[in-house]
């Protein structure tokens, strides 16, 4: 195995980081933040397939995340579906929804696509807020622990390892995909749709498929997140949530699987770090976002790697 390829080397590094991070964790709050970071990372890895690789923006993915969360909450509390079943059913429904709306929506380009996905996300958010009989409305609803095969995932530590394994799995899947004919086709869609079409790439189907895949990633994580927190409110599906996800992807590095992970981790930790500066939090966060993008326009990871490479080559 060549540790220098992104797949094996990067995966190994990621596994080491996930395994070693808890050394610095002094209590379960750290685990909690770690889980949130990894959950976001998984969503972003999926979203990056859509945004970074296929070049299609989405400002509605928090909606899919929220649907996964509420799907699990509803099915487990009202219909007594076992959590894993609820997660699966929610993911299927979200996938189906993404498939149905994806066809017409993904014909749109650029800002028009951004508008349409934003619309989908907002509509989902409104439904979750309004149908309080099912969702508890803006005040939210609670749900139970994640139980499977007589085993209960409980406590931040356990969730940490579950999230860690899932993150590595997600990264592995994403790396596989992009380094395959399908991945190349996706990137070709980004480069030139006609160019891809005339050599046999069914661009609209690929766009829809990757949209569905990224939505399912979001939904599954949404379900798990709901169980982990035990309580959810509709604002997990708000427009800001979607913008936040896209920001993670772009900040970390579009078209870079590990970049998405880095972006998600940083933007999850940042508010925690900045919480102590109180009212200056927003200003500092804004400055960091602007500064990163100005000085590393390709995103953190790709820009840093490029710098490293040129230094190596310079020697």
């Amino acid at each position: 195995m060549n540790l220098k390829t992104p797949r094996t080397g990067g995966l190994a590094l990621l596994a080491i980081v996930v395994a070693a991070a808890p050394i610095g964790f002094t209590n379960s709050y750290f685990y909690d933040v770690g889980v949130n970071a990894m959950f976001n990372a998984i969503v972003c890895v999926g979203l990056n397939l859509l945004i970074g690789y296929a070049g299609q923006i989405s400002l509605g993915h928090a909606g899919f995340f929220a649907l996964g969360a509420y799907g699990s909450a509803l099915l487990t509390t009202m219909y007594n579906v076992p959590p894993i079943g609820a997660l699966t059913i929610s993911a299927l429904v979200v996938g189906l929804l993404a498939f149905v709306v994806g066809r017409p929506i993904l014909k749109l380009k650029g800002h028009y696509l951004a508008m349409a996905t934003l619309g989908i996300g907002i509509i989902i958010h409104i439904v979750l807020k309004t149908e309080s009989k099912f969702t508890g409305g803006p005040d939210g609803m609670s749900l139970d622990n994640f139980k499977m095969l007589g085993f209960t995932v409980m406590g931040d530590r356990m969730w940490y390892w579950v999230a860690g394994v899932l993150l590595i799995l997600a990264v592995w899947l994403a790396l596989n995909l992009i380094d395959s004919p399908v991945g190349r086709a996706l990137r070709a869609v980004h480069g030139s749709e006609v160019g891809a079409e005339v050599v046999g790439v069914d661009t609209s189907s690929y766009k829809v498929l990757v949209f569905v895949v990224s939505a399912v990633f979001a939904s599954v994580v949404g379900s798990l997140f709901a169980h982990k927190n035990g309580f959810i409110t509709p604002d997990i599906g708000s427009f800001f949530g979607s913008v936040h996800l896209v920001t993670m992807v772009v900040l970390g590095g579009m078209a870079s699987v590990f970049g998405a992970v880095v972006g998600a981790v940083i933007l999850t930790l940042l508010p925690q770090v900045l919480a102590s500066v109180e009212q200056y939090e927003a200003m500092i966060l804004g400055v960091i976002m602007m500064g990163t993008m100005i000085f590393m326009p390709k995103g953190l990871l790709p820009s840093l790697l490029a710098k490293l490479k040129s230094r190596e080559a310079g020697r």
Binding site: N176, S180, S192, V194, D202
Partner: protein, 253 residues
């Protein structure tokens, strides 16, 4: 048997008749050139044949099947592939990856098997890379094997599109001004490439303003003007046609 039949084809853009009532056919194995003044409708014709545009009227038959209305990727699957006058390079990818996308139809492209990186996918990819390397060498891009497409000069990109189109293993290859941006010596290299492609049994439809190339390698030429057919025949016949000389070639050619 004819490979491609264009029947009474028309395309109109808000009053502009880019192609009008055009009929011609392409024989298999031929190098068939389309010439005509700027704005004669050559590129539009290519776009109609390859499904980028849908015709306003008329029809296109490929291998005796009605194909007007089909999507470009469906036509590609039937064996049609092309290059563009306005480059359609994947600038976000490496040169060799551009070519490998060309081979898309001949690879394992299931979502699931790609996700799981099944051995078959890996093997197919390795073979594909080797073949695409050969193709790049074939079109004269040996020195760009490791290059990012975004860093290549114009002339090289034109060749890259040819390599990509060839990677699709087409039955018919449509080239839109492959020699644009190449000097005379480089054009002669492309002559060679096209001749060898044709010799391998691929039918070539060529749009080109380099008359040395067109007259030198074509089996058959159709000349257009204002979207209509102006003349047709062997290079010698077309070159001698006074209408063509007047509208297109000028006295010197």
């Amino acid at each position: 048997m004819t490979l491609l039949k264009v029947e009474n084809l028309s395309k109109e853009f808000g009053g502009v008749h880019a192609v009008e009532d055009l009929t011609f056919s392409v024989e298999p194995g031929h190098i068939h050139s389309i010439i005509g003044p700027n704005g004669a409708g050559k590129t539009t014709l290519f776009n109609l044949i390859t499904g980028v545009y849908t015709p306003s009227a008329g029809r296109v038959l490929f291998q005796d099947r009605l194909v007007s209305g089909l999507k470009p990727y469906e036509l590609a699957a039937m064996g049609m592939s092309r290059t563009f006058q306005n480059l359609q390079i994947f600038f976000n990818m490496q040169a060799i990856e551009n070519v490998m996308v060309g081979a898309h139809l001949h690879l394992n492209r299931g979502f699931l098997s790609s996700f799981l990186r099944l051995p078959a996918v890996v093997r197919g990819d390795r073979e594909c890379r080797a073949r695409c390397t050969e193709l790049m060498e074939f079109v004269g891009l040996a020195k760009y094997l490791d290059a990012d497409a975004a860093s290549m000069p114009y002339g090289a990109l034109k060749r890259l599109e040819i390599a990509r189109a060839l990677a699709a293993k087409p039955k018919m290859l449509l080239l839109d001004e492959p020699a644009a941006g190449l000097n005379a010596t480089e054009s002669r290299e492309i002559d060679e490439v096209i001749k060898r492609v044709a010799a391998s049994g691929i039918t070539v439809v060529l749009v080109e303003h380099d008359m040395k190339m067109v007259m030198g390698i074509s089996d058959h030429i159709t000349a257009l003007d204002y979207g209509r057919k102006l003349a047709e025949g062997t290079p010698a016949e077309v070159r001698a046609n006074p209408d063509v000389v007047k509208a297109y070639l000028g006295a010197h050619a």
